[in-house]
Each structure stands twice: as structure tokens, then as C-alpha cells.
């Protein structure tokens, strides 16, 4: 971590208004999150649906106003910028959205789609036809795709068009929301490899939002695990995967079926379902489902432990290989 971070997120909260007339209140979609992304690095946000990972990504990209905290990008505070002053920032930070085909405007050709950033930012002195050809080649699509429409593309091809558009203006950071969603296993690798090649060749930083833990394991340098809008655990991917310290990360990792019929599943089963954001649990957010829950988890929010670039929000961080206490007491 010797370099300056390209993106610095400090105690960011995002709140959504709820309720109608008379009983106006709000819920926290993101409840105080801090992290940094450094040049050339891939940072992954992992969580299940409703964890707030997409909201956080949209907040970083300036699509979602934040209610607390600060977002600094390339040394500039960006959460306070208005739309006009945000525009130059958008040349340096591009975002890819979940649906490979749905994130492409249906009545525009591939050529128009990949060169749209040039038109939006009024980039002068470039031949758009040549740019389109250059970008398509870069992402491994045939140049004659310029005339095609999104509905004529397969999921993988559409995803490549999205990548081409994201790198068009040589950004410093790409935010990819579920880059492998809706893609077959045999195509997922292509997209991830492409993103990784581009990251190495162009020296980009990347922020990947996903629920797919296997993908994270291979592509991310650092990983943060989100639950109900908060980081449960963050750190180097290999550390988190090797020895999760937060019960939720441990459960999530153990819940990951592996394609090996002889694998003995030593699983941590979580009782109950994810609580609604409308009724955020007191104390530790995870206590309603935590197999290791103790009394003060129910009343006191946990302090974050920082150690060797690793953060855990838990009163009682797990030792490597820890098993739920229920399993110990049950007859073997």
C-alpha cells in the first residue's frame, strides 16, 4: 500500500426515504463503509442480495447521493460535486452494469454504443469509425460488428461491447457490477480474462461487485464481505478465503457447493433469513443468524479490529477452522 489510493471511501452512508405522508423515516442501504482502491488493483465487494453492494457501487459512481461520509477519487472529493463538475470525473471512472444486453441502448448500433463516450465528452480530433474498430479489436470482437444491434448479440458478445465502452476514454478505475451475471460458465472466463488483461495492459484499477465467491477468489486482490449495508470483513483475498474471521464470511464460504462429489461438506448452516432493512437488528447486525452469538452481540455494535490490512467487525473473531458451538455440543 505504498501508492496513494485512487479511490478512498470514508464512512459512507446511503439512506432511502420510506413511508408515506405523516410517517416519514429512512432506512440505511449502506451503513457506514470505508475502503481504498489502489492503482492496478482489483477490489471485490461480495454479498448476497440486499447487502447494499450495488448501492455502494452506484454511490461511488455518483449515481446515488450519499447521506454521510466522503468519497475521494484521484485526490478530489467527488461526493459533493454537482452534475456538471462530475462530468470530467466520469472520463476517469467508468461503470459496467449487470445485464449484458440490457445495459446497451436497444436502438443503437454497436459502433454507436462503443463510441458514445467520445460524443458525450465531445472528444475532438478522433475518427469515430477508427475508434470503434480499435475498441472492438481490443475486446476481441470482429470489426464488422459495428452495424449490429444489441439484440443480435449473445450475452458474452454484449458484455464485450460493454467492456469496450468502459475503456473507451482510458479511465483509471472501472466499476463492474456482476460482470459475469447471466453468462454461461464457459463464457464467464472469457470476460474475466479480458478484464484482467486490460487491467494489466492499461494499468487500471478495478472494483468488482459480485455474489460469486469462486470468481472473487481468482480475480480479486482484496475482498470485502458485505451484509446489511456494512462490511463484515475485508482484507487480502487469500487471507479472507483461507481463514475467515467473521462468522458470516465463514458461513458464506462454506455455503459454496463445489464441483467435487467426494468433497465432505463441513457446512455452517445459518438459521432464519436475512432481516429486512426496515428492522435493522440492534447490536451486531448479524446476531440474528450467527451460530456463535453471545449476549453482548445482541446489544452492542462490534468494534472493528484492524490488523495487517484486515478488518473484522465482530466481538469475537474466529480462529482458523472454527466450528459452530452447536456442533460441538451435539452428539457426534
Amino acid at each position: 500500500m505504498s501508492t496513494d489510493p485512487i479511490l478512498k471511501v470514508e464512512d459512507v452512508q446511503v439512506s432511502f426515504p420510506t413511508g408515506g405522508l405523516g410517517r416519514r423515516s429512512s432506512i440505511l442501504g449502506v451503513a457506514g463503509v470505508s475502503f481504498e482502491v489502489h492503482p492496478g488493483e482489483t477490489f471485490a465487494l461480495v454479498g448476497e442480495s440486499g447487502s447494499g453492494k450495488t448501492t455502494l457501487a452506484r454511490a461511488v459512481n455518483g449515481l446515488q447521493p450519499i447521506s454521510e461520509g466522503a468519497i475521494t477519487f484521484e485526490g478530489q472529493r467527488i461526493d459533493t460535486l454537482d452534475r456538471r463538475s462530475m462530468k470530467p470525473v466520469r472520463r476517469r471512472m467508468s461503470m459496467m452494469f449487470q445485464d449484458p444486453v440490457g445495459s446497451l441502448s436497444p436502438r443503437m448500433t454497436v459502433g454507436d454504443l462503443v463510441t458514445e463516450p467520445f460524443r458525450i465528452h465531445g472528444v475532438e480530433g478522433r475518427n469515430l469509425r477508427e475508434e470503434a474498430a480499435r475498441l472492438l479489436t481490443l475486446v476481441g470482437l470482429p470489426v464488422d460488428f459495428v452495424g449490429r444491434f444489441p439484440h443480435q448479440l449473445s450475452g458474452g458478445q454484449a458484455r464485450r461491447v460493454g467492456v469496450a465502452r468502459a475503456i473507451a476514454l482510458d479511465p483509471a478505475l472501472i466499476i463492474a457490477d456482476e460482470p459475469t451475471a447471466g453468462l454461461d460458465v464457459s463464457v464467464q472466463g472469457e470476460v474475466l480474462n479480458l478484464l484482467n488483461d486490460l487491467r494489466e495492459r492499461l494499468g487500471l484499477a478495478m472494483m468488482i461487485i459480485t455474489h460469486n465467491l469462486h470468481v472473487v477468489h481468482h480475480v480479486a486482490d482484496r475482498t470485502a464481505v458485505m451484509y446489511l449495508g456494512r462490511f463484515m470483513e475485508a482484507g487480502n483475498t487469500e487471507d479472507v478465503f483461507g481463514a475467515p474471521q467473521h462468522p458470516y464470511s465463514a458461513a458464506l464460504l462454506s455455503a459454496n457447493p463445489e464441483p467435487d462429489p467426494d468433497k465432505v461438506h463441513d457446512r455452517i448452516t445459518l438459521p432464519a433469513e436475512v432481516p429486512s432493512l426496515l428492522a435493522r437488528p440492534r447490536g451486531c447486525e448479524f446476531h440474528t443468524r450467527c451460530p456463535w452469538v453471545r449476549d453482548n452481540c445482541r446489544s452492542e455494535p462490534p468494534v472493528r479490529h484492524h490488523e495487517n490490512g484486515r478488518t473484522v467487525a465482530c466481538h469475537f473473531p474466529l480462529e482458523p477452522g472454527a466450528r459452530p458451538p452447536v456442533a460441538e455440543t451435539s452428539p457426534a
Partner: protein, 291 residues
């Protein structure tokens, strides 16, 4: 919305393909034929008959259809065939002009309501709903009483009645598209609101609306004919299908041919436009079925 990079291939083929698709459907072919027939009659009215539609001939009153007067004459001895042809001009003029104006206003208001701030949307929706809560003919009667019967009054009524519907459709679709991933993607690239509306939203909402509006043309023709039937549309000597029908209705027991001369063109035109509109919709936007 091809801007710079690619050119759509084969312009001529682009025009012919939809027409061929319509002709393949029997109902579409019939609709197209009827519509062309009405347009032909209206455009070439002066060549198709030598009678002046407004000339009164006391010696030729109440003549039934025959060789001299193809569709007969009315209570003032005016040739009904000439009146029907010229009435077609009025009907088409009102229908096309007011629908076009409504569409333009409806699109602008709908985009503003759909993409603008929340309070403006709520206000506009309230106005649209209030506007639509007047029964059409009641509102028309009230307005015409004030403005006096005229073609302009009819067109104002049509526009007031149809704009809220168009605006609502555009608004609903704009709101749906506003949260679509490709619009969010454009925002994330820094596109201005004007560009998003022009490049990403308008091309995707306008097609269905134009088809729906084309299906409203028979409704507009009905409003014009209805107002003229009540004596609140075009002023008396000018022929309109509605006023011919009224002339026929007055003497329906003795001279039914006048009512037939006034009503059949209305039926032909409304059926023609409806069949054509239905086929257009089925061919180009099957999702709209049942609206």
C-alpha cells in the same frame, strides 16, 4: 438513431418491407385499401364529380340514388355524392392535423413528466387525470357553447381530449426506461439529460405511441362527425359526414338514403383506419396487443 458510425442499409427495402408485411395480412390489406379509397376520394373530389357540394337545387330535393345523382340528393337538393367526397376532406383534415398536434404536445409533456422532478410529475399527472375525468362529449359541448361551433373548436376539443392519454403513455414508458440499465449507463458516462432523452429514451418510446395514435384516428373522425351531427362542428353549408347524417336522421322514416350516405363513409373510414392500425401494431409491436 444511427449517428456517425454506421449507415442503415438499403433505404428502399426499408420502406417496402413493412408494406409487404401489411399486405400479407388480409385485414391489413383491406384496411389499407379502404384508407386509400377514402384518401383518393377526398383528394380527387373535384375530378370525381361535377356537382358543387353546397349548391342548393330546389327542383331536385329528396331524390333517391340514381344515374343522375349517384347517392341521391338531400332536403335542399344538394348532390350527396359530392357532399360525401368533400366531407371526407374535412374528416381527414381534422383527424390528421389534430392527431399530429396532440402527439407533439403529448410527447413533450410526457417526457417532462417522466424525466423531470417528482413534484412536477405529480402535478402533471393530477392535471392529466382531471382532464380525462371529463366525459369527452360533455366537455366538447361546454367548450363549443362558449367558442361557438367551428372546425377549430372541434380540433381544440380533440387535442384536449387526446393529449392527456398520449402524455401518460410517454410518461409511464419514460419512467420505466429512466431506471433501465442502459439509461443508468448513459448517466454514468456523463450524458446530459437532453442527450439521454433524445438518444436513449425518445427513440424507444415513440414507436408504440405512433401506432396507438394511428389507432385513435377513427376516434377523432368519430368526434368530428358526432359534433357535426349535433350541429356543433362545421358550419352548415360546409359538408361533413356528421351533418349529412343529421340531415338523414331528421327524415329517417321517408328518406333513409341520406342517413346511409352520411353513415356508410364514417363506417368505411373508421373500419379502414382501425384494421390498418391493428395490423401495424401486430406487425411492428406485438407487445401492445390488447391496449
Amino acid at each position: 438513431m444511427s449517428e456517425v458510425v454506421s449507415n442503415p442499409p438499403g433505404r428502399v427495402a426499408e420502406i417496402w418491407r413493412p408494406i409487404r408485411k401489411i399486405l400479407r395480412e388480409p385485414l391489413g390489406a383491406l384496411g389499407l385499401f379502404l384508407v386509400l379509397l377514402v384518401i383518393f376520394g377526398a383528394v380527387f373530389a373535384d375530378f370525381l364529380t361535377s356537382y358543387d357540394p353546397t349548391r342548393i337545387n330546389p327542383r331536385a330535393r329528396f331524390q333517391g340514388p340514381g344515374a343522375e345523382h349517384l347517392l341521391g340528393t338531400d332536403q335542399l337538393g344538394r348532390d350527396l355524392f359530392a357532399r360525401v367526397l368533400h366531407g371526407g376532406r374535412i374528416a381527414l383534415y381534422v383527424a390528421l392535423v389534430s392527431t399530429a398536434v396532440s402527439l407533439a404536445i403529448g410527447i413533450v409533456l410526457g417526457l417532462i413528466a417522466g424525466y423531470g422532478p417528482r413534484w412536477l410529475d405529480n402535478l402533471m399527472i393530477l392535471l392529466f387525470d382531471a382532464m380525462k375525468s371529463f366525459p369527452t362529449v360533455m366537455l366538447a359541448l361546454a367548450l363549443v357553447t362558449l367558442m361557438g361551433p367551428s372546425l377549430t373548436a372541434v380540433m381544440v376539443v380533440v387535442i384536449l381530449v387526446t393529449v392527456p392519454g398520449y402524455a401518460r403513455i410517454i410518461r409511464t414508458q419514460t419512467i420505466a426506461l429512466k431506471s433501465s440499465e442502459y439509461v443508468t449507463a448513459a448517466q454514468s458516462m456523463g450524458a446530459s439529460s437532453a442527450r439521454i432523452l433524445r438518444v436513449h429514451i425518445l427513440p424507444n418510446v415513440i414507436g408504440p405511441l405512433v401506432i396507438l395514435a394511428s389507432m385513435d384516428i377513427p376516434v377523432v373522425i368519430g368526434i368530428e362527425a358526432g359534433m357535426s351531427f349535433l350541429g356543433l362542428g362545421v358550419r352548415p353549408p360546409t359538408p361533413s359526414w356528421g351533418s349529412i347524417l343529421n340531415d338523414g336522421f331528421t327524415g329517417i322514416r321517408d328518406s333513409a338514403w341520406i342517413a346511409i350516405a352520411g353513415g356508410v363513409p364514417i363506417i368505411i373510414t373508421t373500419l379502414g383506419f382501425t384494421f390498418l392500425g391493428e395490423t401495424l401494431r401486430d406487425v411492428f409491436d406485438p407487445r401492445l396487443k390488447g391496449r
